[in-house]
Symmetry: C2
């Protein structure tokens, strides 16, 4: 027998794979049981409902996302470079064979009429990303108004890459972000901020 921590991990990772590949509603709890190798009874003893499991999966995704973002940022040494590294991270992600969009956006579209917990978890993730970008923009010495612009580029790149089906959106968004950064940091941009 495996302990609760290991069982939890197996269940969440299995559900993550299945939910992302096929959508939450299209995956039955029995499929999660088969993929995780953990009995239904055990699953329901650890997660009271499919909704709770979905939230746990989203939290797992958030941890993965944050780790990937941090790894990309660690290679960069200026705030400006860390901001652009976001798009390099996206570029690598878009090239993965099973990429088909941001799990948070997909789940939001699928369950927005349903669970409040899921909706709140998605919002928290996007807000946290916006805050991350805002901190880097501040470090770069750019006006705060630049932050949501760069966050919007990142969001747009994800949906564009998912729907149109190529990695190009990452480079396109990166170029736009670079232009916006240059404009915000250019000497005569200071006039508007001053």
């Amino acid at each position: 027998m495996i302990d609760d921590t290991e069982a939890r991990k197996r269940i969440v990772e299995a559900a993550d794979r299945l939910f992302y590949a096929r959508g939450v509603q299209a995956v039955g709890m029995d499929a999660v049981r088969a993929e995780a190798g953990v009995s239904l009874k055990r699953i329901y003893s650890l997660f009271p409902s499919k909704d709770d499991l979905t939230v746990a999966v989203l939290r797992h995704r958030r941890a993965q996302w944050n780790a990937g973002l941090a790894a990309g940022a660690a290679q960069a040494h200026t705030a400006r470079a860390k901001l652009l590294a976001i798009f390099d991270f996206l570029d690598a992600w878009f090239r993965e064979p099973d990429f088909h969009g941001c799990a948070f956006i997909n789940v939001f579209g699928e369950l927005s009429g349903g669970s409040d917990d899921v909706r709140r978890t998605v919002r928290e993730q996007k807000q946290a990303f916006a805050d991350y970008v805002a901190a880097l923009v501040r470090d770069a010495g750019a006006p705060a108004a630049l932050a949501p612009q760069i966050a919007i580029l990142a969001e747009g790149a994800q949906t564009t890459a998912a729907i149109l089906g190529g990695p190009e959106a990452a480079a396109q968004a990166r170029a736009a972000a670079a232009t916006l950064l240059d404009a915000a940091l250019a000497p005569d941009a200071g006039r508007a901020a001053a």
Copy 2:
């Protein structure tokens, strides 16, 4: 009795309201019947399956979207103004009380693991929008690389407004688009293009 054209219209409009408000999978065909006031038999005689109805609803949405975009563009007299009018159109849309995201993105997230027809219809819509932006960018005399950047801003504004829940993303994306346009049309931007 109403004729087929009228019945089709009632069914598609009813399904559009319900699908957008609650999601496709969460709405049963019986709810569509009740909202449209058309019998199930009639619905199935006009649309062979729920998938076909979903595609018809997306086509209806596309027509609405194109009309709104055209109305906004008609007020503007330069290509640059028509490009920025996209974001004014988004701004007005985001302020509608029942706005909760782009129907195409939502449906894509919901059914991406399912129907090929739905996936293709969503892709066609986003591609058509990208083409629309590209034509305006060409008219404005800006480099072609600007077009996907502006399209990505529009997509990102839609998901950001849906998830974070305010209309601010439209103005933020508009400001970014204006900066990108200025940078693309500035004299010294010609060096890169030349």
